[in-house]
């Protein structure tokens, strides 16, 4: 599929911020399932770039003068293929992905959920179903920094929460699992186009699973970054000095150019 992406992130501060710093993981890389045809970032200041320990591309942008808005635009076109299990382990030893983090800490409830899988389908399908039953898709119920166990206790969440509970459960079962951020071409428009899903190392390959949509990722999915949790992989991470209250909006449009 050929997809066109337009992703706008907008911050508005109630008071002027004195300076701010943004770490952007807004640039997809070529892999066996996606080929970037063209891509560009429109940013309010010059940014430097690098590749982090997970192999993610990032940009670092510093705004040094007083400002009360920041607008970040990422756009481009990417050719996607059907995703199949990927036998390339990546730059890190896969056992790194057995680790729990602050956002994906093991808890009694997640352990119970991990061990309760039974029924039809693969392990990932069963686990995904359990997660979705326990916490139906509910925008606004959680925050970006809500840890997996809290989201599960709330019984609600978005793709970020589904993915974090899911990978925590996988790690409890001894399966290396990672958090993936990216975009989704959505035909029913129920979920945001900015998306997250999981990858689990099973039988010597990374198997993707999109928990919120209860299926394996496919050519509708475009990958941006991966890591141990949301914080490692999220598209935009920022800090600022001053600024007061913040209004943050993000909108990602993904369109099908041709099949």
């Amino acid at each position: 599929m050929r997809l066109s992406i337009r992703h706008v992130t907008h911050y508005h501060y109630a008071e002027p911020a004195l300076r701010s710093a943004q770490l952007l993981r807004l640039t997809p890389a070529d892999d066996p399932y996606q080929t970037v045809r063209h891509w560009q970032l429109d940013l309010p200041a010059a940014a430097t770039s690098g590749i982090d320990g997970y192999g993610n591309r990032y940009h670092l942008m510093m705004l040094e003068g007083t400002h009360d808005t920041i607008r970040l635009l990422a756009s481009g076109e990417v050719e996607t293929q059907e995703r199949t299990p990927c036998a390339l382990p990546g730059v890190l030893d896969i056992r790194v992905f057995l680790r729990h983090t602050a956002l994906t800490a093991a808890s009694a409830a997640i352990t119970e959920l991990a061990h309760a899988c039974a029924g039809k389908g693969t392990l990932l399908e069963q686990l995904g179903r359990k997660v979705l039953e326990a916490m139906p898709y509910t925008p606004g119920a959680t925050q970006v920094h809500t840890p997996a166990d809290q989201a599960l206790a709330l019984g609600a969440g978005v793709c970020q929460d589904h993915t974090q509970v899911f990978i925590t459960a996988c790690r409890i079962l001894g399966l290396p699992a990672r958090y993936v951020s990216g975009y989704l071409l959505n035909e029913n428009e129920e979920h945001a186009a900015s998306h997250a899903w999981a990858e689990v190392w099973l039988d010597h390959a990374w198997h993707g699973f999109d928990v919120s949509n209860a299926r394996a990722p496919d050519a509708h999915h475009l990958k941006l970054a991966c890591g141990l949790d949301y914080l490692d992989a999220c598209p935009v991470r920022g800090v600022r000095l001053g600024g007061g209250q913040e209004v943050h909006t993000t909108r990602a449009d993904v369109q099908l150019i041709e099949n």
Binding site: R19, T48, M62, V96, G227, V239
Partner: protein, 476 residues
């Protein structure tokens, strides 16, 4: 006359032979001591207390929310190490630290020791201290731990054992320096009678090590502190002042165009080496804990680009983790092709079911420690514990066995120490500070001797009632 008494049987005393006779390297000191009237020594101790208060060398107790600062008690009877014994220790410490640096460089690059099957991969990579963001970063000369504090004890058999390696932000060196200054001030005549190796050049050696850590010709070095509320702030300020470099907080630094700069009254100055006394998690809110106000946004990027050196490097904690400790002798054999000079303490890893069984059956005899614990917290000393404490630990071990290791209860050596009733043997340990650069692995002769002031206690941590002593390494 001062009565010198032996410790309980089964402990090595630094000054006395088991016959009660004075060891030859303590003979001069013991003669001097016996000639001093008790009132004079009491007056000197009081003088030392007042001077330390004036210098401001205090510490805040970890886990004590009152924020009260305390003075670490200083004992005026030194710990004395003969020259030949120190040479052996020095060789062993340098060997150990070289192997630990080689291990760190390996596990963030090619993983050879793991491929060779000498350390289980999961122990390293699934360890919370392994820092994925450091994978593939090449550091100048492959040095990760520029400053290492190694905790040693002397066992009943008279040999030194390494208790733990501190490769993150080891502290305590300011006490080594201040204790020496204090002893020289109180008892100058002792230094005329003994040939004692100096320690006062430590800041010069440290600065040389920090400068060599950079690839720059004439690097700018700073000390980065979390601020004056940190328990070791005194030491941060002290070392910066002694080295003649700036003491900065995170807000004094910023990243621009892949480099780190310091704000100064005269504009911006580029920084090449940051001797950071802030834990990894707080260094950069864009890479680690997002709520950290102590770090520098973008620092990880400048570091990754090779434009600034952090001492110590990020991610060194994986090598001093208690679950990795049992493998240090294997690292020495693997990387250096040498046999370890210093002993490791026998360690049971509760993650292994057979070792867990052994530990559970011997809780009253063993010391059980949390793998990620520090400062003597989260620890069970079996022989000194109540039934209830032992049962509490049994439950914890069964719940999360991988979080614990266990070791035999060590018989820390003792050293005569001033206590209320006079002079009595008290248990001690030793923390020398090893400096590593591409050129050499070196240290000043000595270290920080900590003493457990409570009778029979084996816990020397200052936060739990420990004191310090001057450490004398004798010269031939």
């Amino acid at each position: 006359m001062h009565a010198l008494t032996l410790p309980e049987p089964g402990h090595h005393d630094e000054m006395l032979l088991s016959s009660g006779a004075v060891r030859s390297h303590y003979q001069h000191f013991a003669n001097w001591l016996q000639a001093q009237p008790p009132e004079m020594l009491a007056r000197k101790r009081e003088e030392a207390n007042q001077l330390f208060h004036r210098v401001g060398i205090t510490f805040a107790v970890y886990g004590d929310d009152s924020g009260a600062e305390r003075l670490i008690p200083f004992d005026t009877i030194p710990r004395v190490i003969p020259a030949a014994e120190w040479r052996q220790l020095e060789a062993g410490l340098a060997q150990r630290v070289r192997a630990l640096n080689a291990f760190l460089d390996d596990i963030y690059h090619d993983h050879q020791i793991i491929k060779a099957g000498r350390i289980p991969a999961e122990q390293v990579f699934a360890n919370a201290q392994y820092q994925p963001l450091m994978q593939g970063i090449s550091l100048p000369d492959g040095i990760w731990a520029h400053i290492t504090g190694v905790d040693l004890i002397r066992h009943a058999d008279g040999s030194y054992y390494v208790l733990e390696d501190n490769l993150r932000v080891p502290s305590g060196v300011s006490y080594m320096l201040e204790n020496r200054k204090m002893m020289m001030r109180l008892f100058p005549e002792l230094f005329a009678r003994h040939a004692i190796a100096p320690v006062d050049h430590y800041p010069t050696l440290l600065l040389a090590t920090l400068r060599q850590a950079s690839r720059q010709e004439n690097p700018t070095v700073v000390v980065l502190t979390p601020g004056q509320h940190n328990s070791a702030y005194f030491e941060h300020a002290f070392l910066a002042q002694q080295m003649g470099v700036e003491l900065v907080e995170g807000r004094d630094l910023f990243v621009r165009d892949d480099h780190v700069y310091m704000r100064t009254t005269a504009g911006h100055k580029r920084i090449d080496v940051i001797y950071r006394r802030i834990d990894d998690a707080f260094l950069d809110p864009l890479a680690f804990r997002p709520d950290s106000m102590l770090g520098v946004p973008g620092l990880m990027h400048a570091y990754r680009q090779g434009n600034v050196v952090l001492t110590n490097a990020i991610g060194t904690g994986v090598a001093d983790d208690k679950s990795i400790y049992p493998y240090v002798p294997e690292m020495i054999r693997f990387y250096l092709g040498e046999e370890p000079i210093l002993h490791n303490v026998e360690t049971f890893q509760c993650r292994n079911p057979s070792e867990l069984d052994h530990v559970l059956a011997n809780l009253d005899k063993l010391v059980v420690k949390e793998v990620h614990g520090a400062g003597g917290y989260g620890m069970l000393v079996g022989p000194a514990a109540s039934r209830a404490e032992i049962e509490d630990f049994r439950a914890r071990l069964l719940a999360t066995p991988a979080n614990y290791i266990a070791q035999p209860t060590l018989c820390l050596s003792s050293c005569p120490t001033f206590v209320e009733s006079g002079i009595a043997p008290r248990h001690i340990d030793l923390r020398p500070f090893v400096l590593s650069s591409g050129r050499e692995t070196t240290m000043v002769a000595g270290g920080l001797t900590r003493v457990a002031l409570k009778e029979g206690s084996l816990v020397v941590n200052s936060s739990q009632g420990g004191g310090t002593k001057d450490t004398w390494v004798l010269e031939d």
